[in-house]
Amino acid sequence: MAALELAGIRKTYGRTVALDEATFDVRDGEFFCLLGPSGAGKTTTLKVAAGLAEPSVGVVRLDGVDVTDVEPTRRDLAMCFESYALYPQHNVFDNLAFPLRSPRRRMPAERTRQRILDITTLLGIDHLLDRPVTQLSNGQRQRVALGRVLVRPASAYLLDEPLSHLDARLRASMRAELKAISGEDGTTTLYVTHDYVEALSLADRIGVLDAGRIRQIGTPREVWSEPADTVVARSFGKPAINLVDGAIAAAGGVLTFVSTDGALRLPVPGLRTSPGVRAQLGIRPRDLGLLRGAGDLPSSLVCFDAAIYVLEHLGRQTEVTVRVGAALLSLVVPREVADGHVLDDKVVVTFDPAAAHVFLPDDGGRRVVR
């Protein structure tokens, strides 16, 4: 086990910048998730860490030792490729044995066999050992690829979207499995994913990567409740956070957010900003509600008028999209609350000002602190 550190990594391919000044460290035994959309530079980061790509600028350290010039073979890292990178000429067993039989390890045959059996049983692929990998489904291949990493001890694991090709049910159970394994085994892990649920579930800390730049590093709770900017805010939650364009005004001494067309006006007290700036209001869909009948409204909530744009069932809940002026807002409510509404119905939406975030589009979407 080792601590892994990337410092000031810049990686360019021709004129395109894949990674820009990426700096982060994965502590000894920590599970660190890099979250970002495709093309954000996640795989490049892993390849730089593994030594498969040479950074244009920057340093990679393992346990404080500069390994930037060390061949990948000698870094003692294990990596799971998104493309699986299984050896098509071998069956499952030989794929898993490949790292154990390498000149660096030369594990005795009996121990190799035992180790492979343990791991494949854990991953639920022990019945496939004699199968050529070309005859496996994508989900099975992915588990073999993961197995090839877990089968051997390493200073750190580098995992590139190891669950992305599994179906929903299997993904959820493998995620839980992976969480259990990492809890017990405690190998330093750098995990790359585009799925925020995986990041929230698995990570000790999350780094949000976008267009080659790290936007924020923090615990799941930090990146969720204190997003550094709109990119981070949009990375978490389903449906995604609502972002409404507008400006900050001072109405009767209280700072108020006013949407561009003036249709939405909401007080946002306690902001450290001045009236007149352009702003984006961010509200998570689960922080909005629908007012049913003339029931009394908790004093902490404010409300505004809207019209129903679309209703979508999500099991026991319904995602309601409402229109306020030109802005569309999604909210998620229990099914019975939405039942009976039809398109273009007038509704009253409730909202907790304390749950709102304000971002400054003129400042790269940075969040205003309260």
């Binding site: 929903a168 959820a172 839980a176 689960r286 679309v310 979508e312």
Partner: protein, 366 residues
């Protein structure tokens, strides 16, 4: 707009090698005028084949297809007035977006040049393609491609609109956005629509009615709520809903309880049946009873051992082990639950939302 009726439709693929494959088995379905019906199922369940038969891209082995009360069996795709948005878009790569939209109008020589231009403009405006009319498909984002495919399908005002996995190639953010727009557009235009998807969330959120298919067979037809709350068999139960329903093997006793292990019995209302069953309960319908989950008030069915805790902030997922039960149980609770692996929790199964299925046939027992 016309209604669409499938009457005993079958499709058998014969290959020179191997046995014939029955891709669709005797399917009966009526899609009412203006309705959106989703065909939902895993890949290879026959849903795309059904769509292709309606479009005329695939022969019908048996049965009849009627659009607006008229059989279309003898008609080539060119002669059926259907609009199709293909899964991989099927855009015409050499043509601009405008020419892609115009292709069907040109081919059928619909209207004068000026009317056609006006129509293209109108459709492009509706689905937000005005800026890219002169671009070629290769330079579009997948969201734009998807909208071109949709625009091409609706521009001729088809009798039936067929959408094959229309959102599958979009990323999560785009998918949510496009899904919403698609739903709104279909409502406004009122097209009779058949949508094919493997994504249960897409089917539930878009459709008026959902047809769940598996291995060429229709498992259930119903509204999204019916399919979700009242699954007809174990396949539907397991396929619809996320996180997926827990399906635990057990033994049903005559008196009602299902024994999951010698230590865990779950009472049910089923009388007069006994034998091997599968007990189904959604993670959200498992209730935590005890100091940390005082909102239930129910009586615990079992004491479980927590294996994994996933705090997803919108909710918390627990993976727990019931005494003597091999299959693990997933429990979904509201956000902010404090639990640690190794802890013991009491769980209760929501009485009205616990389903029992015959272990052999998969049929729901009531």
């Amino acid at each position: 707009m016309s209604n669409l009726v499938l009457y005993g439709v079958r499709k058998v693929f014969r290959s020179r090698r191997g046995a014939p494959v029955e891709a669709v088995r005797r399917m009966d379905l009526e899609v009412r005028s203006g309705e959106l019906v989703a065909l939902l199922g895993p890949s290879g369940c026959g849903k795309s084949t059904t769509l292709r038969m309606i479009a005329g891209l695939e022969d019908v082995t048996d049965g009849d297809i009627l659009i607006g009360g008229r059989s279309v069996l003898g008609l080539r795709p060119q002669e059926r007035n259907v609009g199709v948005a293909f899964e991989n878009y099927g855009l015409y790569p050499p043509l601009t977006v405008a020419a892609n939209l115009a292709f069907g109008l040109d081919a059928r020589r619909l209207g004068r040049a000026r009317e056609r231009r006006a129509r293209i403009h109108d459709v492009a405006r509706r689905i937000g393609l005005l800026d890219v009319l002169d671009a070629r498909p290769a330079s579009l984002s997948s969201g734009q491609k998807q909208r071109v495919a949709l625009g091409r399908a609706i521009i001729r005002a088809p009798d039936v609109l067929l959408l094959d996995e229309p959102l599958s190639r979009l990323d999560a953010a785009q998918r949510d956005l496009t899904r919403r727009e698609l739903r709104r557009l279909q409502r406004e235009l009122g097209y009779t629509t058949v949508l094919v998807t493997h994504d249960q969330e897409e089917a539930l959120s878009l459709a008026d009615r959902v047809v769940v298919m598996d291995e060429g067979r229709v498992r259930q037809v119903g509204t999204p709520d019916e399919v979700y709350d009242d699954p007809a068999d174990v396949f539907v139960a397991g396929f619809v809903g996320e996180p997926a329903m827990n399906l635990l093997p057990g033994v049903l006793e005559g008196g009602g309880p299902v024994w999951l292990s010698p230590h865990v019995a779950v009472p049910t209302d089923i009388r007069g049946a006994a034998g091997d069953v599968v007990l189904g309960v959604r993670p959200e319908d498992v209730i935590l009873v005890g100091p940390d989950a005082d909102r239930s008030g129910g009586v615990a069915d079992a004491v479980a051992h927590v294996l994994v805790v996933e705090d997803l902030l919108e909710c918390t997922l627990l993976t727990v082990e019931l005494p003597g039960v091999e299959r693990r149980l997933v429990v979904q609770t509201g956000p902010g639950l404090r639990a640690v692996p190794g802890q013991a929790v009491s769980v209760a199964f929501h009485r009205l939302r616990t389903y029992v299925f015959d272990a052999k046939t998969g049929e729901r027992l009531r």
